[in-house]
Amino acid sequence: MADHPFRVLLVGYGTVGRALHRVLVERHDALRERTGVDFRLVAVARRDRAARDPKGLAAEHPNALAWSRGEALELIMEGDADVVVEASPTNLQNGQPGLGHARAALEGGLPLVLANKGPMAFAYRELHDRAAKQGLPVRFEATVAAAVPVFHTQRHALAGDTVLRVDGILNGTSNFILTRMAEEGSGLDQALREAQAMGYAEADPTADVDGLDAGAKLAILANHVLGRPCTFHDVKLEGIRGVTREAVELATKHGHRIKLIAEAGREGPIRVGPRLVPRGSTLDVSGALNAVRFHAELAGQLTMVGKGAGGKETAAALLSDLLEVAKLRGFAAPGP
């Protein structure tokens, strides 16, 4: 099958979707050379519009694509693709419409690669079981800490090990805010305005500041890395709105930083909340960086640090997942 194009159907054409499109086109020849995979983005859906081209859509400005009326679900059900990438915005009410897209892909026998956290945060077990029953790969590296290879590390490097506990900083915006408070002595409101001015925070910062975004990621980690069936609703959330300038000042004086930490073990609470992190800890990462730490039975503590957001970074994670799926489905040249 290595002579056949690997046809990608992309749902969502925001920052991440467009970055993925650009990467697939710009790196097409290099990827084919290196892996044997002939990537071809054959369809894109965003809201009620769709663009398609069986020969592959050229990466251009979204205005230059030939959009027509069309729904993601229709495209998925047509099934003229080898994989579905779900990169539409995350909905933390119920995971829709991404969850519906994910179900439709699996029902139609298509492998699934996710950047949207919603489907896995609300229905990890269902999607996992459905995919397993049909022998379809589902990958979601991009849902947690963007390009930081959290799930690849667990799936490959720690394949024979057992992760007992996971903790980390899974939201860059709140980390940026807390870092500014510690370094500049500013209050939360001022640091939040700075984060918004720099494009880190949305006009409505609830998902970042109240821990919802980190909670959704933690639910996915707990399911996959710890084997703990749970959903977003099982995560105990406490945000950073109550963290005052005085609290940050005291923590600093006594050798700590305040960080919004997501943490779960094989039992006990699954929670997100502000914690004290000793200076010099591997979780003491500043600015908008993310950090994910595994406490593994054999490997001990492993911490991975990197950018947890951004179009290019998230596209990097999607690309690594797509390559893995392409290999599993016989679209890659035989490896060494």
Binding site: D167, V243, T244, R245, E246, H254, L276
Partner: protein
């Protein structure tokens, strides 16, 4: 086993000897003694002791020292532990004494308090350094704090798991 502890002593002759005698009394051997003169306030100085001591002796030593001295910090795996937490909110209105009593009742103790007050109508921040003879007592002390903080509407910031700090 090896343990390290920090106590506050009056900066006067014989005070150091008293602590060394206690260590010997419970079968311990002193490896090092460091005076932290930079911490000197009101004629008192913080001194860090590193000792090798049998398991049961360590517990009794901490117990004895806690009765006679201000014990600032104890570090030891599987033995006396220290931790630090932050409370944010209207801590004084809601009764700080009540919070601290809850810790004492759990066999842990408060070895340091540091306070920032941002005015009457704004939430205060209080750093609480805890000591306990073992991890079990520390866990009970923290749980007591959690419960009181929740009922009093205070935010409790604990150390991230596995990094209890000193």
């Amino acid at each position: 086993m090896r343990m390290e502890f920090e106590v506050e002593l009056p900066d006067a002759p014989g005070e150091l000897g008293n602590v060394l005698a206690r260590v010997a009394q419970f079968g311990g051997n002193v490896n090092s003694v460091v005076h932290r003169h930079e911490t000197l306030t009101d004629g008192r100085v913080a001194v860090v002791f590193q000792v090798d001591i049998p398991e049961d002796g360590a517990l009794r030593l901490v117990d004895a020292l806690a009765r006679t001295h201000r014990l600032l910090r104890v570090n030891r795996e599987g033995g006396p532990v220290g931790s630090v937490v932050l409370l944010v909110g209207h801590v004084f209105e809601s009764g700080l004494t009540d919070l601290l009593d809850a810790v004492f009742e759990a066999d842990a103790e408060v070895v340091e308090l540091d306070v920032r007050i941002a005015g009457r109508s704004n939430p205060s921040a209080v750093l609480v350094r805890l000591g306990a003879p073992d991890a079990g007592a520390m866990g009970r002390g923290l749980e007591a704090l959690r419960q009181r903080a929740a009922t009093q509407g205070l935010m409790l910031l604990e150390p991230v798991g596995g990094e209890a700090g000193g």
